[in-house]
Symmetry: C2
Subunit: 102 residues, 2 copies
DNA sequence: TATGTCTTGACACTATTTGTCAAATATAAG
DNA sequence: CTTATATTTGACAAATAGTGTCAAGACATA
């Protein structure tokens, strides 16, 4: 399974871009991007959006990878992961139909 | 749908316990417990475990509620929630079968 | 060696989470 | 109407986590 860091690094290298170049486009230090690509540091949502533009990666795809990474990390050491995900699905449905902002 | 705060408050009241009493048992300020029960503040995992013991709520049940709450909150405003949850499921499976610690 | 790229770790700054406290509110009893 | 008790609220401090900066080290290539 490809990690989000691998996705980013693969795309960057396939475009022949240097860390320095992409980092400049993202307005961050190359060291941060290096860490993100090696999954040593987690990107935030803003960075995900910029990355999808700079590297021409589908925005929804990268976002889904990003959020599912966070979730998997949250529940990886729980022995009731399946149940948790089913519950989460119900709650999301509930929030979507009942939230004030919708 | 019952929130985690409601679960806790219902159980505490059904046991005839005061905020002050349960808070003392949890070693926290009653104000915090009050906020947790009204979903104004999110409990952390340690508190969840203590709560399940003090109020005699099934530990797995309360943990599942707690984690699914966090997940639902994370993805509530995303329009690809279903896809994210499916991806997360795959990643959890992957982590379970490939992690070093297992 | 000399150059350019990437990695690593220490550090500071900021944001978020968590804890503390006292005043305000609510409820019930005398 | 007081008094007492329980809960709620908001301001604030402390602790933790996230983020950014930088320079030195490692690595490859010419």
């Amino acid at each position: 399974m490809e990690t989000i860091g691998q996705i980013i690094r693969n795309k960057r290298e396939s475009l022949g871009l240097l860390l320095r170049q992409v980092a400049a486009s993202l307005d961050i230090d190359p060291a941060i991007l290096s860490k993100i690509e090696r999954n040593e540091r987690r990107p935030n949502k803003e960075l995900i959006l910029k990355l999808s533009e700079t590297l021409d990666i589908d925005k929804e795809e990268l976002l889904a990878q990003y959020i599912s990474d966070k979730i998997a990390y949250d529940i990886a050491d729980e022995n009731c992961a399946d149940r948790v995900l089913k519950l989460a699905e119900k709650k999301v449905q509930y929030l979507k139909t009942h939230s004030v902002s919708n």
